[in-house]
């Protein structure tokens, strides 16, 4: 491939202690290179969401090694991991997860304000530009709880893009949308991967979605199928 690795996992093992001791992930290793659009498929309970949470640094209760941009991030402090998430990882969840009382613009801007690299004016401009790119510029001032489901998911995507992250991770981002909106979200992702060269790692159920990606990783019972 020759391309730079964005996220690399080496022999990740994960156990659940409750309700009964159970190994969710068995010796998982994977590598996502820069500019790749990767999907993870598998049945419910195969551990794909769990893997995503580990890759996203939110779950630190695992064994193995995790590298982001070739730097080891396993074992870092919670504060440092939060800073890494803020700067390098964008998230899109199944249930859009916006702050309902905040405006769309605030929702998109918050991670950038937390990062604190740019002043509020620039952040505002950036956020508006991303919203416009996703065709939702007109709802920027609306409260997040007043917009439709499809719009919410696009706002979530806009938020994940605001800090120009190294990778965008999605946990079934189309799982809760109708086919029209699903297609829309998929085309946005496809577009970002092709034109902007963004790296994406998306967990999905949707075969049609997976077919559109560069590479599909299939999981079953805690292992990656070859």
């Amino acid at each position: 491939m020759g391309r730079k690795s964005v996220i690399r996992a080496e022999s990740i093992n994960k156990f659940f202690q409750q309700p009964v001791p159970f190994q969710v992930l068995k010796n998982i290793s994977l590598d996502v290179a820069s500019g790749e659009f990767v999907s993870v498929m598998g049945k419910s309970g195969c551990g794909k969401s769990t893997l995503l949470y580990i890759l996203s640094t939110m779950d630190t209760d695992y064994t193995g090694k995790l590298y982001l941009n070739d730097q080891l991030i396993t074992g870092l402090q919670a504060e440092q991991l939060a800073a890494i998430r803020n700067e390098h990882i964008g998230f899109v969840f199944q249930f859009h997860f916006l702050l309902p009382e905040f405006s769309v613009l605030d929702n998109v801007s918050l991670p950038a304000k937390k990062l604190g690299r740019k002043n509020s004016e620039v952040i505002r401009e950036d956020a508006l530009e991303i919203l416009r790119m996703l065709d939702i510029g007109h709802i920027a001032e609306k409260k997040a709880y007043r917009i439709s489901g499809g719009e919410k998911q696009r706002v979530a995507i806009a938020r994940s893009l605001i800090n120009s992250p190294s990778i965008i991770m999605g946990d079934e981002p189309t799982g809760n949308l109708d086919s029209k909106n699903s297609a829309n979200v998929l085309s946005i992702f496809r577009n970002l991967a092709t034109t902007e060269g963004l790296t994406l790692l998306i967990v999905t159920h949707d075969k049609d979605f997976a077919r559109q990606t560069d590479r599909t990783i299939t999981m079953e019972d805690g292992i990656i199928l070859p």
Binding site: M58, A82, A83
Partner: protein
């Protein structure tokens, strides 16, 4: 920038849950308002009651005490190891009530750094005579200026004024009971007869009312010279020396020192009024206990509401954490929220407390003992307002701390997985 962001999020939370925030704030408001009202009223009343006695009492009182001589001549003889001296039925020696070399003593004591003021006094018994009646009385000859400045004698003179006493060597301020019994008033003359038979006719310029009937029935004030004239003694004749100190705490050690130095009886205020100190401190303890209980209840209100709020905001917390806010950030947001509520509630509480105590201070309150007091005494001491707001902040900090640290520890994965 980054601080502003946390404030922005906390502020947004308060605005979107305004009603709950106000309810939580009201808990603090009432706690603080009650604290301020209670403590202003209680300390005001304490001050008044203490003033009744303490203002009138010298910090150290010097006089000659009648009593048996402590060291009897026999004690000077060395005893044998097997027996000891025993003298039965020791009688006191007749003693002058005059303090020896009083003017020199006063001058010497005035130079002590602890001493604020030294006032001489001549006390003597006398009879008030009106027609065929002789009334027993106590006459105090005072240095009017000192007495007014350090012992607030004027506060207890009504009607009449203490100024007239200093200007007139033939003036007297009589106890209210005396005036009533003799049926005399301001402008009337009264005849005084000393134990040795000297008689003096004095003009009444005021009545003195301490509130204690047994005092008012006998006590009268004249100026120092008049008293000396009444008993036929020279200017240097002084029976009592009253000392005010800068620091009350010094009273006991200084009294002991004076006793040793000048061979005179010295009584300090703590010994003379032990029960007053106790009364005051118990009243203060009660006030603080009630106020702190109120504030703790208010603290629980905040704890409750913040807890509920965090439960409701689990999703928001998960999002903030997923998008890169650290646990400490999230905690700060909730602490800011709690303390903003505490500060706002506390400030309103201070204002409300001030309004309440001001209202109380306008309510008429007449007591016999203090003719100059017409409304309830309130102590508008700023210290209590500082204590109030400090306590509001501390209480809300702790009330917010527990729920906030729960939010800090909350694992976003748990929330995400639950969906």
């Amino acid at each position: 920038m980054y601080k502003k962001l946390l404030w922005f999020i906390a502020g947004m939370h308060i605005i979107t849950r305004l009603k709950q925030s106000i309810v939580a704030g009201l808990g603090v408001t009432f706690g603080i308002a009650t604290f301020i009202t209670l403590i202003s009223f209680m300390t005001g009343l304490n001050g008044l009651l203490d003033g009744l006695t303490l203002d009138r009492t010298p910090h150290i009182h010097l006089y000659n005490e009648t009593g048996p001589t402590k060291v009897q001549p026999l004690d000077l003889v060395a005893g044998t190891p097997t027996d000891w001296h025993l003298i039965r039925s020791v009688k006191p020696k007749p003693q002058q009530s005059r303090i020896h070399a009083a003017p020199t003593l006063i001058k010497a004591i005035s130079t002590f750094p602890e001493v604020a003021a030294v006032a001489p006094q001549v006390s003597t018994q006398a009879f008030y005579t009106a027609g065929a009646i002789d009334l027993n009385g106590l006459i105090a000859g005072i240095d009017v200026e000192q007495e007014e400045r350090w012992y607030k004698l004027g506060d207890y003179v009504s009607p009449g004024s203490i100024v007239a006493l200093s200007q007139n060597d033939n003036a007297i301020i009589v106890g209210a009971g005396v005036a009533k019994k003799l049926s005399v008033g301001i402008g009337n003359k009264i005849q005084l007869v000393s134990p040795r038979g000297n008689s003096l006719s004095l003009k009444i310029v005021g009545t003195y009312q301490s509130g204690l009937a047994e005092v008012d029935d006998v006590q009268s004030y004249v100026n120092l010279k008049t008293a000396q004239r009444l008993i036929g003694e020279p200017d240097s004749y002084i029976t009592d020396i009253n000392i005010k100190l800068h620091d009350l705490e010094q009273a006991f050690p200084l009294a002991q020192r004076l006793e040793r130095l000048y061979d005179i009886k010295a009584v300090d205020i703590g010994t003379a009024n032990a029960q007053f100190d106790t009364g005051t401190s118990i009243r203060n303890i009660i006030t603080y206990a009630v106020s702190i209980t109120l504030l703790i209840v208010a603290g629980f209100g905040i704890y409750n509401i913040l807890n509920m709020f965090i439960q409701e905001k689990m999703n928001d917390i998960a999002i903030l954490k997923a998008t890169g806010f650290s646990g400490a950030d999230v905690m700060k947001i909730f602490i800011i929220q709690a303390m903003t509520i505490g500060l706002a509630g506390g400030t309103v509480g201070l204002l409300l407390g001030w309004i309440f105590s001001y209202t109380i201070s306008r309510i008429p309150f007449e007591i016999e003992a203090l003719p100059t007091v017409t409304t309830y005494p309130i102590n508008f001491n700023l210290t209590y307002y500082f204590i109030g707001i400090a306590f509001a902040l501390i209480a809300t900090f702790f009330a917010g701390y527990l729920p906030a640290s729960r939010a800090r520890k909350m694992d976003p994965v748990d929330v995400l997985r639950r969906q």
